[in-house]
C-alpha cells in the first residue's frame, strides 16, 4: 500500500424524496488499499457506490479519480461509461452476466467497438489468461456461464472489470453467495491483486470478514459516515456500536428439551423448475421446543423445502406429517389450517399484498375465520380492532393500519408478517431467510420471536444463508445441498462450511 490517493468522494449527498440515502459522505481510497464499507442494510452503502459508478446522480458532491499517472481528475457524474473509462469497475450483488454465452464472451462483451466486423479473440484470450495468472482468479472460459457455480460467476464478473483495466474495484456484498471457504479464496485473490496496485472497496455487513480482510474500515449509518479507522485499530464491539448506534441487542437463548415431533418429512421429493426449488428424497423431523437450522449455499433447494412446507409445492414422492396427521394433499390453505406459520423468503412478493391495507394483510390467512367475516361479508370493525391490537403488540410502525402495506419499511413489513404468524400460536414455524435485508434491531426482534415460539413449544424450521444466524439460533443444523438434506451433527462453522460446499467434513 502506498500513500497515493486513487479515489476521492467529496461530500456526496443523495435524497430519494424524504429519505436521505447519503448525507455529505466523503471517502478516500489509496492505491493498493482494501477499504471495507460497512453498515446495516439501508445505511446507504450501495447508493454511495452507485453514485460513484454513475447509476445515480448525486444531489451534491463530487468524485475524483486518479489517472494511471496518479493525478486526480473530477469524474463526470451520472455516466457509467465515464466511470468505466476512468478505471472504476463494479461487481453488483446480482450478477450482470448473459447465462447462455461463455465467460470469454461475457468478459469481452461491451468492451469491443460496436461497428468492428471482426474481433481479435486471440488477443482477448491472451489478456484474460494473463489477468487470471496475475490475480489467481480462475474460471472456465468455454462453457456457458449458466453452467458455472456462483463463485465462478462472481470471478467472471471480477475478470470482466479487470479486463476493462479497472484500477478501482467495487464489490457489493461479494460473500453473500459464497461458502466460507470460497469467501476466503476470494479475499486471498483480492490480496494478490492489491499487491499489484488494484484498489478495492468492498461492501459488507459481516464484521468477521471485514476485520479479517480489509486495511481500513468506513462505517455508514443512516446515510452518514459515522466512523473511519484502520482495521488494525478496530474491534468488533466498537464497529458494531458504530453500525447500529447502540450496543448490539443480544438474543438471550435458554436451553430447551425437544418434545414430540411436530413435522416429519419422509423421503419427500419435489420436482421444481430449477435446482433451487427441487428436493430429492428429503427426510427430516422437527420437534416441539426445537429450532432446526437449514444451512446451505443459496439456490440448493431452499426454495423447494420452503415451498413444500408452505404448501405451495406438491411432492412427487414421500410423506408429510404434521403432529400425528398425514397431510395427503398439501396446499397453502391446508398447511395454514394444520397450524403451520410461514414467514416467506421474499416478504414483498409473497408476504404481503402491498396495495392492500396493513389491516387487510393481517387477516389475509384467516378469511374463513368467523371473527373476520360472517356470511361472506368482512367484519370491518373486527379487522380494524385486530390490526390495531397486533400493531401495538408487535410494534408495527407506519402511517397506520389503514394505509397500504407497501408504505411500511422492510423491518415493519416483517413485523406485520410476524404478527400474522405468531398471533395464531402455530405448532410449526417456517422461517425462510427471515432477517435478510433487515437492520440489526429488526433482525434481533425476529430472533427473539422465534425463540419465544420455541419456548412456547413450537417447532421452527429456520432456513438461512447466513450461517452466523443459524449458529446463533438453531438447536440442530442440517445442511442442504443439491436438493438433499444431511444432518450436520456439529456446530462447527468450518465443518458446516465444508458440507455446504459438498466436501467431506
Amino acid at each position: 500500500m502506498t500513500d497515493q490517493t486513487v479515489l476521492k468522494l467529496n461530500g456526496l449527498s443523495k435524497r430519494f424524496g424524504p429519505v436521505v440515502a447519503n448525507d455529505d459522505v466523503s471517502l478516500t481510497l489509496g492505491r493498493g488499499e482494501v477499504l471495507a464499507l460497512l453498515g446495516e442494510n439501508g445505511a446507504g452503502k450501495t447508493t454511495l457506490m452507485n453514485m460513484l459508478f454513475g447509476h445515480y446522480l448525486p444531489d451534491a458532491g463530487t468524485v475524483e479519480v486518479a489517472d494511471p499517472g496518479g493525478t486526480l481528475h473530477p469524474l463526470p457524474l451520472g455516466h457509467p461509461q465515464a466511470a468505466l473509462a476512468a478505471g472504476v469497475g463494479m461487481v453488483h450483488q446480482h450478477f450482470a452476466l448473459a447465462e447462455n454465452i461463455n465467460a470469454l464472451d461475457n468478459i469481452t462483451l461491451g468492451s469491443e467497438p460496436l461497428l468492428s466486423l471482426r474481433r481479435d479473440r486471440r488477443a482477448a484470450e491472451r489478456k484474460i489468461k494473463d489477468i487470471m495468472a496475475r490475480s489467481g482468479l480462475t474460471a472456465p472460459q468455454d462453457v456457458p456461464v449458466g453452467r458455472l457455480s456462483v463463485g465462478e460467476r462472481q470471478r467472471v464478473e471480477i475478470l470482466k472489470a479487470l479486463y476493462r483495466d479497472a484500477r478501482i474495484l467495487v464489490l457489493d456484498e461479494p460473500t453473500a453467495v459464497l461458502t466460507p471457504q470460497e469467501a476466503d479464496t476470494l479475499f486471498a485473490n483480492i490480496k494478490t491483486m492489491t499487491a499489484e496496485g488494484l484498489s478495492v472497496i468492498f461492501i459488507s455487513h459481516k464484521l468477521r470478514e471485514v476485520l479479517a480482510f480489509s486495511d481500513r474500515i468506513a462505517v455508514l449509518r443512516h446515510g452518514r459516515k459515522v466512523g473511519e479507522m484502520a482495521t488494525s485499530e478496530a474491534d468488533e464491539g466498537t464497529i458494531a456500536r458504530l453500525m447500529v448506534g447502540a450496543d448490539t441487542p443480544k438474543v438471550a437463548r435458554e436451553a430447551a428439551t425437544p418434545g414430540a415431533p411436530v413435522l416429519t418429512l419422509q423421503n419427500v421429493s419435489v420436482a421444481g423448475r430449477s435446482k433451487r426449488d427441487t428436493l430429492q428424497g428429503v427426510t427430516l423431523t422437527v420437534h416441539a421446543h426445537e429450532i432446526l437450522g437449514i444451512a446451505g449455499i443459496s439456490g440448493n433447494g431452499q426454495s423447494g423445502l420452503a415451498n413444500l412446507i408452505s404448501g405451495l409445492a406438491v411432492p412427487t414422492a414421500g410423506m408429510i406429517r404434521v403432529d400425528e396427521t398425514e397431510i395427503a394433499r398439501p396446499s397453502a390453505a391446508t398447511m395454514v389450517a394444520a397450524g403451520i406459520g410461514r414467514i416467506p423468503e421474499d416478504r414483498h412478493h409473497e408476504g404481503i399484498v402491498g396495495a392492500m391495507s396493513v389491516a387487510e394483510n393481517m387477516v389475509i390467512e384467516r378469511l374463513g375465520d368467523p371473527d373476520i367475516q360472517s356470511r361472506g361479508l368482512l367484519r370491518r370493525d373486527a379487522i380494524q380492532a385486530n390490526a390495531e391490537g397486533l400493531a401495538q403488540a408487535y410494534d408495527v410502525r407506519g402511517p397506520g393500519v389503514g394505509a397500504a402495506a407497501r408504505l411500511l419499511s422492510g423491518g415493519n413489513i416483517q413485523k406485520l408478517i410476524l404478527a400474522r404468524v405468531f398471533e395464531r400460536a402455530p405448532r410449526l414455524i417456517l422461517a425462510n431467510q427471515p432477517t435478510r435485508g433487515l437492520d440489526m434491531g429488526a433482525a434481533a426482534e425476529v430472533g427473539r420471536r422465534l425463540l419465544e415460539a420455541r419456548g412456547r413449544g413450537a417447532g421452527v424450521v429456520l432456513i438461512s444463508e447466513d450461517l452466523d444466524e443459524i449458529l446463533g439460533l438453531a438447536d440442530r443444523i442440517m445442511v442442504i445441498r443439491d436438493g438433499a438434506l444431511v444432518e450436520a451433527g456439529t456446530m462447527d462453522r468450518a465443518k458446516i462450511g465444508l458440507m455446504m460446499a459438498g466436501e467431506p467434513a
Binding site: L312, L367, G376, L378, R380, L407
Partner: protein
Amino acid sequence: MIRIEPRENTSRAFALGVPVLAALVALLLAAIPLLAAGANPITAYGEMIKGVFGSVFAVSEMLTRATPLIFTGLAAALAFRAKLWNIGAEGQLYLGAMAAVAVGSGWLDISGLLLVPLIVVIGAAAGAAGMVAPTYLKVRFGADEVVTTLLLNFIILIFLQMMLEGPLQDPMSLGWPQSAPILDQGVLPPLMDRMRVHSGLILALVLAGIAQFMLLRSVWGFKLRAVGENAAAARHAGINVKRSLFGVAAISGGLAGLAGVSEVAGLKGYLTADLSPGFGYTGIVVAMLAGLSPVGVVIAALFIASVFVGADSMSRAMGVSSFLADLVVSMSLLCVLVGGFLSKYRILRTAKAEATS
C-alpha cells in the same frame, strides 16, 4: 436532462382528480380539430351540452347510451381488478344478445314475469361462458387471455352472422340477416313514455352498487383484490387463485352478456350484427377512466355517453364530423393513462452534468 422519480405517496384527492382533469384536457385538446374544421369550439361545446342536457329527450338518449357502457365497463373493471385482462366484452355482449333472442323471440311463450328474468339469466350465462373458456385456457395452458379474448370477439361476430343467416334468422325479415323480435312480454320495460331509456339502466345501476359493495366489503372481493394486486402473496396466504379467477371471469363475462341482453331486449327488440358500435371496447375505456371502481364506472359511462350523444347533436347543428366523439373518448383514455403515470411519478429537470474529460 430529464429524470423521472416515483412519487412517495399519492393523495386521495389527486387520485380522484386525475380522471376529471384528464377528461377536461381531452375536451380542450379536441378544440384543436374543431377549430381546424372551422367551428367555434365554444359554440360547438355549447351545442354539445344542449344535445345532452337540453331536453328530457336528450337526457334519455344519453342514459340509453350509457346503459350498455355501464355493463361493459363493470365487466372490464372487475376483471382488471383481478389482473384478468378481458378484452372480449364485445364478443360476450353478442353471446348474451344471441342467447336473449334464442330464448325470448318465440321459443318460449310464457308470462313476462318469468320470461324477462329467464332472458336476463340465460344472457348472462352465455356471456359468462364466453369468458370462462379463455380463462380455462389461461389457467390450464398459460394462454394469454388478452390474445384469446380479443380474437374470440371476431370468432363470435362471424358465428353471429352465421346464426343470423341461419337458425336465428327472422323468417319475416325478407332475407335480411336479423333475428326475430323479442316477444312483447320479454321486453325490458321503458322507464318513461315515448322515451328510449329502459329498465336495463336500473339493472345496470343496481349491479354497479352490488359490485362496489362486494368488492370492498365481502371476502370474495377481498380475495379478488388480493389476487389482482399480488397473486403470489394471495397463493401463499392460502387463497385459491384459480377459483378467484374463474369466479371473476364468470361475473365479468356475465356483465358483458347483460349489455347484449339490455340492448336487444331493452332497446332494439331484435338482433343484428351491428347491435353494438364497439360497446365492449369502449367499456375498457370506461373502466380505465373509472380507475376500476364500480361506482366510478357509472360516472365514466355517463361522461362517455354524453360525449357520444353530444357530439352527434353538435355535428348535426354545426356540420362538423361526429367522429369528434371518438376523438374525445380516445384522448380522454390517453390523458388518463398519462395522468395515471404523472400521479405515480414526477418529472424533474436536472442540470446537465458537466463534461470534464
